[in-house]
């Protein structure tokens, strides 16, 4: 198990990637680890490019930005193009195939999951795509414990949406169950 994770989420504003990053970092804290979450985003409220990064480590974290990702999640074609090259050779690369159709990453272990469509079709609302993605990501990487993840999600989401979000996590996890077992 790595003791230092560099995780990057890339997509567009409004997809909830920063929230996803925050939740992941919070889950790490719950697990008793150190975590730093940072982001960059455009001036647009919606629709501009958006990037969230999470560093998770057992000890102190110097630099807060990802240099080469251990885990990459991309949810837009632009993000895929930009960030796929900047991963470690053995990185986990998760691609939301709802939006990213033909980008061909050359490095890492690539997982294509229809995340946004799953959110809409299986959970009923596309806004939970970020939570589905977390289910996928943690399912694949175990970078935080599942319990901590659930706890972190429930602490962040609006009251009344707990069940929907739990379901979203599960949908994500289920989507990659087979792959994990296979791995």
């Amino acid at each position: 198990m790595r003791d230092h994770w560099e995780i990057r989420f890339g997509g567009t504003g409004g997809q909830g990637l920063i929230t996803a990053g925050v939740i992941l970092a919070e889950a790490a804290i719950i697990d008793g680890k150190n975590a730093v979450q940072s982001q960059s985003y455009g001036p647009e409220s919606r629709g501009g490019s958006s990037k969230a990064e999470v560093m998770i480590a057992n000890d102190s974290i110097d630099y807060m930005k990802v240099l080469a990702a251990d885990v990459l999640l991309v949810m837009s074609p632009e993000a895929a193009k930009k960030y796929c090259p900047e991963v470690k050779d053995d990185a986990v690369v998760i691609i939301d195939s709802t939006y990213v159709k033909d980008e061909q990453p050359v490095k890492g272990n690539v997982y294509r999951v229809n995340i946004s469509l799953l959110a809409k079709q299986e959970v009923g609302r596309e806004v939970v795509a970020n939570i589905v993605a977390l289910g996928v990501l943690v399912g694949l990487t175990k970078v935080v414990s599942w319990d901590a993840l659930v706890q972190a999600v429930l602490a962040r989401v609006p009251k009344g949406t707990e069940e929907m979000n739990k379901k979203a996590l599960q949908v994500g996890l289920d989507a990659v169950k087979g792959l994990i077992d296979a791995a």
Partner: protein
């Protein structure tokens, strides 16, 4: 089911590249020509019902709709 939009010469066309799926046009269209697709974007579902009133075009914040004919505004 309606005849697929692309098979009719429709007075109203949607530029999907600009449409952000806000739903204004299909909410306001008096004759329900337009509907939202799975990503909430506008699609011309009933071109035959279009009166060229241009309400959709006037209210599309993204200039994604063009209506041919109809009143000059």
């Amino acid at each position: 089911m309606a005849i697929p939009a692309e098979q009719l010469k429709s007075p109203v066309t949607v530029n999907l590249a600009w449409c952000k799926g806000c739903g204004i046009c299909y909410s306001l269209c008096p004759t329900k020509v337009l509907i939202g697709n799975e990503l909430s974007k506008a699609v011309v579902a009933h071109p035959e019902l279009c009166t060229s009133c241009r309400v959709c075009e006037a209210h599309c914040p993204d200039y994604a709709i063009t209506v041919e004919g109809g009143p000059k505004r």
